[in-house]
Subunit: 344 residues, 2 copies
DNA sequence: TTGTAAGCGTTATCAG
DNA sequence: CTGATAACGCTTACAA
């Protein structure tokens, strides 16, 4: 008979003593493992006295349940995934924070991954992640609908800042935010605005452009949309010449990163902001108030989105299904990059 | 006999079909599960033909190994933890990116957690994380040596930006970075400098202060250290008055966040930078080049630190032990917040 | 080269 | 209220 079969494997990676199991507790108390298991996670279904003894020795032995072992029979790992397109993009900071917090409160562990630019999904990372989690929050703008559906076929999914038919999604109140922006500009006296869009594959960029277009027309303003190379500072910088060429007196960038790029290029080119050109962004990321002039933007409740997404996911996991919370309210943050147009 | 015992549990959280197991593959090919297992993860130790057939049907069935089930007998989850003190601190972005990348290359999954300010470790999160990973990278300035040792007693640990006796650590070349900073200031003509320190519990803050002190004295400069409330923008802002009171013509902040705070306060108070006061930071975080004037700083190779830490951890896991890589070179990034002192 | 069987730590069913 | 026991999916020593 082979008793120490896995002896060495157990100590993999070091000489740390393996942590106590329910068997150790059971043996110490001369009980059966099943009793220990019950005592520990079905409080009340066992003699109060026994339960207490069990809890005590569990503490003494420094017992911590083995999540892997638990996951096997239950099929639940109590881990949730969060996939973003780019970890270094500041938009995600608050999102991650919110998700982390909600996970903590709900007793889940957050696993975090980056889908990178690669359209074909950086398989490997995602492939490794999926089997390990009970569900995922997708905030990866770079994934296409097809890829998302494929993931959703395997695990429960909640989308952030994007909609795909029939899948739960957490989105800000886009129309509200756009209206805040447009009204602000109109109040300042602008009549011609430009939208510097993000990647055409970005649902959010398209959506903002669409709404912006509608609202602008509605208010009798001139509207043009300008494409960009990339949704970051460099993309914003590169776009300034086109923006100027359009003749618009105010420009709304798809996100703050691009708006910041616009700001920098303006400065380099000697374009006065907001004197000659008003610039606005979306999101209110870290750094938006650091620029000169400080950036006027529409703040998205990203942290809230993160925690809502996790809660929504857990609700589905527990109850089989749940309803999407209503869109999150945005907030207009007026700083220094917007002002009356030169002609006014 | 109970056959469908876990039938419902398996479908936990939805109606998704359970993914294929090695048993399914074995059955389809009329082989034994162990053969399938071997074929899949010990390539070569099996008849080439059989192996090929197995790989094919595995692909057909969309087989993805269950990491939890694998973790049980091996004791290895192939997951690594990364603990930072504050997700929203931009210093960590590049660190996370580096760690993520290295994990991908090495076939590990990164689990990410925040230790928060709570000195007593936000137990729960960390407690849940530890049993699930093979090892952790600790970049959490807020943990004290005692807490770190306790963690190291359970799992393999690699520290970032910090040293604790006998534990592997990845640190930048602090002395080199400090020398770059001091020399830059000296070349500009400064003879009196102030160090705005971070939390006294921060190893890195103490270390930078210490080295700065030595180098300054060595070069015949006047040196004072000023304490702060918090290592962030607010802490920097609050410290300006003390900095001015010290009479120093140049100030080095413990990190860029604080330097940015100093910059903002200076502007608000009408203190000319670098005319009346030169300001430098450490790290070169996102946003350091967005300020006006743009921040001069000593860049730390954070992404490199992240990947080195992971590699170091995996090396320990695999080989039992490894040697620390040599300190990472820093880079002086001269922008606009430093200049000759007024008196010069 | 392949099959058999034990065992990883936990949960859930069924008897006692 | 508690104890056996099978099962979760996979790995590995050992036998064939």
């Amino acid at each position: 008979m082979v008793t120490e079969q896995f002896g060495s494997a157990q100590r993999a990676g070091g000489n740390r003593k393996p942590s106590a199991t329910i068997y150790d507790i059971a043996r110490a108390l001369d009980l059966s493992p099943s009793t220990v298991s019950r005592a520990l996670n079905k409080p009340g279904r066992i003699a109060a006295k026994t339960e207490k003894r069990i809890r005590e020795t569990a503490a003494e032995l420094g017992y911590r349940g083995n999540p892997m072992a638990r996951a096997l029979p239950t099929g639940r790992t109590r881990m949730l995934g969060l996939v973003v397109s780019d970890v270094t993009n500041p938009v995600f900071f608050r999102l991650v924070r919110g998700a982390e917090q909600a996970c903590g409160e709900l007793g889940y562990t957050l696993v975090f991954a980056e889908s990178q630019e690669s359209g074909e999904v950086e398989y490997g990372t995602l492939d490794r992640l999926l089997p390990a989690v009970d569900g995922v929050v997708l905030a990866a703008a770079r994934l296409d609908d097809e890829q998302i559906r494929r993931i959703a076929a395997t695990k429960d999914v909640v989308l952030v800042n994007r909609r795909v038919e029939d899948l739960p999604a957490i989105v800000p109140d886009i129309d509200g935010g756009v209206a805040q922006a447009i009204d602000h500009l109109r109040d300042l006296g602008h009549t011609s605005i430009a939208y510097l869009s993000g990647p055409t594959t970005s649902w959010m960029s398209r959506e903002r452009g669409e709404r912006l277009f509608e609202r602008a027309v509605e208010r009798g303003m001139t509207f043009v949309e300008i494409g960009s190379a990339s949704p970051d500072v460099a993309g914003g910088e590169a776009a300034l010449r086109r923006v100027r060429a359009s003749g618009a007196t105010a420009v709304l960038a798809y996100n703050d990163l691009m708006a910041i790029g616009l700001l920098r290029a303006s400065r380099a080119e000697g374009v006065a902001v907001p004197g000659e050109l008003s610039i606005m962004g979306f999101d209110d990321i870290f750094g938006a108030d650091l620029t000169t002039p400080a950036l006027t933007t529409v703040r998205s409740p990203l942290d809230r989105a993160g925690s809502d997404a996790i809660r929504r996911l857990v609700a589905t996991l527990d109850a089989g299904d749940a309803a999407d919370p209503s869109p999150l309210a945005t907030e207009l943050v007026i700083r220094e990059s917007t002002g009356a147009p030169a002609s006014a």
